[in-house]
């Protein structure tokens, strides 16, 4: 219920506390949030439509660019679906290499998250430390694949680069260092009073709510739900690896932090097993350009949770339909729940705690025709005016306030 003390505050699409564009219209009573209205779609780029107009091989690179952080997640999820339709067995060595990159990607993503979380609560030392250490894994990814983020290692039918024995040794050295550092972060996360006090009881999502709202990934696991696609629906080489699914019962931002730091340790364990057990064999098989008609659903445990791709083939060299459901879209309703009746000041860390990725979520239109003659240059004043008009259409009008206090 609205009453006269309620104030509506827009947060975003552009806001210093947000790392990507999304818009929240928050209703506040005092410092407490009473209602929240989320608008997404600012990163919608028409990738699903674009995939239908390109060949499968081109799509691998396009899909990899859905997201910078979990690029390998999306490309693996997609190629798995295509390989299933074409009934191709890529061989174990390729599967091991995919899994290796997947776990290195999880390490870089979780370390990045830990830094962002530190930053959101004003603990910038943690940001500096974790991002420095993250460079170790970034360097490893760069040596293995040639790139820091969009690795380009996947192809339909396997992977594009093999790993050598020397590279294996380098990876083990890097993992030893990171494990040492992660033990220190576990100590900080579980013993440092400031962190525990700041994160406990913030952004609470009960197990019942998490189940009802379909939360995924570390967000669900921190509410005590033991769901992990790597375990439940094993793909790539996960069925041959020994690892634990980390869960926690705190059901708040603190729990999500614990889950992620402990998951790092599981990733190191898996990386060591991969280097030790990787079988010999070819890294890719030849796949015809035309994929036979069929459909497949592929799942993948991305660092943020379950990633789902549905691919439908029609017998040509271009897919009929590619559908992507990224983990953040599954978690967005949980965020609204976590923020209900909580303080405005907790908002940045609560949003950050699901490790949102709106590029992933919105993926999907080339709105601009580059050959168009109707190009125009928009002046700064017009952009500002457009912004003011946009907000007043949303019901947020500052004209009166501006007149009263600021602008003569």
């Amino acid at each position: 219920m609205h009453n006269s003390h309620d104030v509506q505050v827009p947060l975003g699409p552009q806001h210093p506390a947000l790392k990507e564009p999304e818009s929240f219209l928050i209703t506040l009573r005092g410092e407490k949030i009473t209602a929240i209205n989320i608008k997404l779609g600012y990163n919608h780029r028409g990738i699903e439509k674009a995939c239908e107009e390109r060949t499968y091989t081109q799509d691998v690179y396009l899909i990899e660019r859905i997201c910078g952080i979990c690029s390998h997640s999306h490309s693996t999820c997609f190629v798995q679906a295509v390989e299933e339709i074409a009934s191709i067995d890529i061989g174990m060595r390729a599967k091991y290499i995919r899994t290796l990159i997947a776990e290195l990607e999880r390490v870089h993503s979780h370390l990045l998250w830990l830094g962002v979380a530190g930053h959101e609560i004003g603990f910038d030392t943690l940001l500096m430390y974790t991002w420095r250490d993250r460079e170790v894994v970034m360097d490893l990814l760069a040596t293995l694949t040639g790139n820091r983020v969009n690795y380009g290692i996947n192809t339909i039918g396997g992977v594009r680069r093999d790993i050598s024995k020397e590279q294996g040794k380098e990876i083990l050295k890097g993992v030893d260092l990171l494990e040492e550092r992660t033990k220190y972060y576990i100590k900080i996360a579980t013993q440092e009073t400031t962190i525990i006090k700041r994160l406990s009881g913030v952004g609470v999502l009960s197990k019942e709510d998490a189940l009802r709202l379909g939360a995924v990934g570390p967000t669900a696991r921190a509410s005590g739900i033991k769901r992990d696609v790597r375990k439940d629906d094993p793909y790539a080489a996960y069925s041959e690896l020994d690892f634990k699914v980390i869960t926690d019962d705190h059901a708040d931002v603190y729990g999500r932090t614990v889950v992620r730091v402990l998951e790092l340790m599981e990733s190191y364990k898996m990386i060591r097993q991969i280097i030790k057990n990787i079988p010999e064999g070819p890294i890719s098989v030849k796949v015809p350009r035309k994929i036979p008609a069929g459909e497949a659903l592929s799942r993948y445990e991305a660092p943020r949770g379950e990633d789902v791709h549905y691919v439908k083939a029609n017998g040509t060299e271009k897919p009929e339909r590619v559908k992507v459901r990224a983990p953040t879209l599954a978690n967005i309703q949980s965020v609204a729940k976590m923020l209900e009746d909580r303080y405005l000041a907790d908002m940045p860390i609560v949003i950050a705690a699901i490790d949102p990725c709106f590029s992933c979520t919105d993926r999907l239109i080339s709105l601009r025709n580059y050959k168009s003659k109707n190009k125009k240059i928009v002046t700064w004043d017009k952009v500002r005016l457009a912004g003011i008009n946009w907000y007043s259409k949303q019901g947020v009008d500052f004209t009166k306030l501006n007149k009263k206090f600021l602008i003569p």
Binding site: I38, G214, V229, E295, A296, K323, N374
Partner: protein
């Protein structure tokens, strides 16, 4: 008997019209073609009686002569069943599944925005994923849609 086969059998026993309509594509992957007037009932049965408690995604397809909607439901054993239903191209409508899964909201808004499939029972709210000023009669994922000159 394999779990997948048990699921197939239970569905066929409960819903005679599903005879020969449930396909096991591989381990942990089932697909089923369901008539449009029965899909809500089958969907509810899978969630309430057969423990398919996660709605992983909803896919919309433009198949030229008709549209199709696929509900991807999964359970805690990693099994995913995809319920596919064909709907008419002239007046595409389906019933919302939000009463089973509140998180279906975004997936259903997407069907409306990108394919123009009307979802009955979807509460009023902001559109997703297209911008607020995008024309309401243009649906980019339809096969006949082309970008216009800006």
């Amino acid at each position: 008997m394999q779990t997948e086969e048990k699921i197939k059998l239970e569905l066929e026993n409960k819903f005679p019209f599903l005879k020969d309509a449930v396909m096991i594509r591989r381990q942990r992957r089932l697909f089923a073609d369901v008539p449009q007037d029965k899909v809500y009932e089958v969907f509810g049965y899978l969630k309430e009686q057969m423990q398919f408690v996660v709605l992983s995604a909803i896919t919309g397809l433009d198949q030229l002569q008709n549209f199709a909607v696929i509900y991807h439901l999964s359970n805690d054993s990693g099994i995913v069943i995809s319920l596919k239903t064909n709907i008419s191209h002239e007046d595409p409508r389906i019933r919302s599944v939000m009463s089973f899964f509140p998180n279906a909201e975004m997936y259903e808004r997407e069907l409306d925005d990108l394919l123009g499939i009307k979802v009955e029972g979807l509460p009023d709210g902001r559109r997703y994923p297209l911008p607020d000023d995008w024309p309401t009669d243009e649906h980019p994922l339809r096969k006949d849609w082309r970008p216009k000159d800006a």
